[in-house]
Symmetry: C2
Amino acid sequence: MRLSKLQRYRVPLALAGATAVVILAARFAPAAKRTRQKGGGKPRRVVVVGAGFGGLAAARRLVHVPRVDLTVIDQNNHHLFQPLLYQVATAALSPDDIACPIRDTLVRGGRATVRMQRVTGVDTNAREVVCGEERIAYDVLVLATGSEPTYFGHSAWRKLAPGLKTLEDALGLRRQILGAFEQAALASDPAERDRLLTFVLVGGGPTGVEMAGAIAELAHDMLPRDYPGLKGRVRVVVVEAESELLAHFAPGLSHYSEQQLRRMGVELRTGVKVAEIEPGRLKLGDEELVASTIIWAAGVEATPVAKWLGLKPGHGGQVQVGPDLKLPDHPEIYVIGDAALAVGGDGKKLPGLAAVAKQQGRYVAERIVEELDGPAAAKPFRYRDYGSLATIGRNRAVAEIGGMHLRGVPAWLVWAGADIVFLMGFRNRALVSAQWLISYVTHRRDSRIIS
Amino acid sequence: MRLSKLQRYRVPLALAGATAVVILAARFAPAAKRTRQKGGGKPRRVVVVGAGFGGLAAARRLVHVPRVDLTVIDQNNHHLFQPLLYQVATAALSPDDIACPIRDTLVRGGRATVRMQRVTGVDTNAREVVCGEERIAYDVLVLATGSEPTYFGHSAWRKLAPGLKTLEDALGLRRQILGAFEQAALASDPAERDRLLTFVLVGGGPTGVEMAGAIAELAHDMLPRDYPGLKGRVRVVVVEAESELLAHFAPGLSHYSEQQLRRMGVELRTGVKVAEIEPGRLKLGDEELVASTIIWAAGVEATPVAKWLGLKPGHGGQVQVGPDLKLPDHPEIYVIGDAALAVGGDGKKLPGLAAVAKQQGRYVAERIVEELDGPAAAKPFRYRDYGSLATIGRNRAVAEIGGMHLRGVPAWLVWAGADIVFLMGFRNRALVSAQWLISYVTHRRDSRIIS
């Protein structure tokens, strides 16, 4: 749906108002309740591996507990707000906007040790985390190492169709996408130009939908102004093996997303699997797509935690944990987030969502505090589902919140508000968040830098 | 000079006021006068190579001239505000903050062709710029390709002591500096920790002074909060072959800079040359400095324009041009900026400054317009020296403006104001510029991301 001019201005105005309210609310909200502290006793060495949503949530709760000697290990020095990575890839945000130094929240004022290191194993007998030649002893270990793209056995596809999990991935994709525009502007052969301007997203989940919408918008914003000769020539295709996009959402919302993407000029190929990927081309049954950019958003698998622990990995490489998120044979080891195969109250596997990881991180921190003086009866972890969101583009999103199904501008405002709160939460850069949303709404993209 | 608490707040307040005035002034200032346009005649193909300060200044003036068919070639898609590169390297700014897409100013509304390509040569007989297998014909050529660090024949030093000329350089240095802090936090051997925390700047010109001050401030801001164990252990050393830093400034200002750097804990080695650089160590006469990070700011040489033109390069690889900035044998070729060896009205070689390149770019554009209908009598190029600025740190800078010598807070305010105007000029992101200055003044560094 193309909004009329008047309606267009209504959205930024509403947004500006909403932003102001959110900023004020966040500013004057009471500080989060500190985790209950117990006195006396020997300090426990708690090691958290991974500072994603799960690990950071646990660490933030534990850092102020006097009897916890906390160490956080991550191979990066920053926590990454992964849900907005696609905005870095499509030049709407700068890498520094969605990453925050781990030390910011944990070291300052608290007493955590942060180690920027790559973990290579876990010695469960000695109770030590192994980082190359170094060993870090623990009493309690929290493994929250997340996931990475899986190619279902086709490891050669990894290079040809990169995923979107790290800042490097996002910057590489940005370079690839903007570079393709630049090369297309120089290309004299129409077939070569078409190849350069074709972008294929493999996977029609939230990441694939968001990325497809973002590339279509980038083309729509940039091409008429910056590359007048390429206007209308960009082709974006989403390939999904299921019969519809966003299969986890209610059918009405799935349908709305497909309709909106089509209106933005995105082509959909549903119910079809990728047969082969070769450099610059992709085979789907009878069809062959010739594309300079192929992006993988078809699935993830757990990072090699199972191997570290000497366990047989479950589905997607995950480690099976009990209802208290502990390893059955090692009550001193918790696995949370995408690395864990945990089951909800309904007996279904919990999804790989930031919200699940965060709630698990908080749960584990509470458990660790409760058990400072020895084993305590455990309430099992229960995931509280506040809803799902996926954004398709400017003013276009879908949301399921409680029983409500939102679409279009209301869903988009929820999405924008949620992102402001999250970004502010760890960045504290209200000005930048507001600025970003305003420039996003006004179609400006200042980050079109190929580095 | 350590400012008292009250004085501290005075600076941000004054700054906020100044920012508001600058923003308003820039907003309501009359648009820049368009270059005088001549009617009739055949369009001339003008090719500008390099979109730095010189090339972009020329291109901006030429893009609206109807009879000029303008092409701009650059190996990057962005213009870079090099004077603030050191702020990216020291995590105060994000790369996207100081880079702006070339197409932003030239394509939109104008009629320039922008080509992101690497130039490999110039065929002066055929009047074509050579980019690999492609050739771009010109009637008038402007070469504005700038300079790169020179190691005075020691090409092995390039890898051991990188310079600071590109976004990649800045991000590499940021990774190096922040990575050194992270490794130092893990180091158990005191000698190894000292090596990691020693930073050597080779060259005591504006770049060396700014970078030394910025690293000292980074250490001062970050270490107590993020790495309490490393507090006070960082060592920053500036090595300068001349007898004083900032030798081009008035003696009083040089002396002030040295004094301020010393107060910030920076060690100075003046009147001494680098004898040898090896991985992680640097020899100066009798002294040997063991340092994980060595940064080269000792000199630049012109990019290989002379080779493209088949000319013998002058001092620093530059190409000798006439008083009208044309090649003596090729009146259709201009060389400007750091690539050119031009002489001022006083017979002295013009310095390699952004201001010189910009004025040359504008001059050349005027000349090209004047000569659209054939050769015209040329006024020689005259550099108008508005002054020099170098910043040492927060509230510490030196400036020579006209006959005035400023130091401390007044010079720093001039520097900050000038940077806001420049950043706004090409970025139009008033909010970000203001935000940056405020966070810089308030000691926040949100860009401490190692990627």
